[in-house]
Symmetry: C2
Subunit: 159 residues, 2 copies
Amino acid sequence: MNVEYLNPFIKSTVNALSTMACLEPSRGNPYLRKTGQKIECDISGTIGVAGEASGSVTVSFSESVARKIVENMLGIQVDSLNDDVKDAVGEIANMIAGGAKGELSEKGYSFKIALPVVCIGKDHYTEYPKDIPCVVIPFSVEEGAFYVEICLKVDDNGK
Amino acid sequence: MNVEYLNPFIKSTVNALSTMACLEPSRGNPYLRKTGQKIECDISGTIGVAGEASGSVTVSFSESVARKIVENMLGIQVDSLNDDVKDAVGEIANMIAGGAKGELSEKGYSFKIALPVVCIGKDHYTEYPKDIPCVVIPFSVEEGAFYVEICLKVDDNGK
């Protein structure tokens, strides 16, 4: 995957977390997910992408990191993966994909984004079509790591 | 949600299961998912939808139903949610959304579909944006129930 596609997602992730929760996540090195490698999490938000680029963007959190984000957003203690947390994870996924969409369309890659789907379940993980590269961008905040997985097939002819 | 949008998804679900696994699922009555209602499952496939209609289509299976489908497809015993099962669930989601897309575009609603995302985890469930209606279509095969959840915002002005 061209780094040209990756940077807008990194920027929009940092922007989403700082805007919504006043958190400044640090970023680890992106890597290509190997077959069988699982990013286990407790709550994830996925946005489908369709157009000249098609695929998905998923952001995955442990329960403690997701709760911390919402505690920062709302200024109250959050004891479970309640509706506020689910809404926030959907909105973060939306901001990540939406922010990257804006920047990528300026570069000539236009696509539409779907609505967020939030998945809740202890230690669940997601899989993507095997023939499409999936890049994992690890981030961390004080409470732990979270991950953005970008699985995109780009139609370069469409540019 | 207009029944005009719903029928193509019902038809494509039955078609996917019969084509891929020689199964004839029976259909229960579709219903509007209430806030807080959870469709728990062990493996689900989601496809994002973007365009004049935007949202998502999710198909959810228990482990036993998902394994049965793949046993029927491959003619071998399947003991776990292995790669064959994950691929099959992604492909079923793809066939459901892709089949409905064809029929809906003939009715004047055009949209693009993203690539499938398969989520694996004991008793996980999915949530969608609260302001968009989510219709659940229950199906069953001999081994148990499975569900198709359609969460679509339709831009009628675009028709």
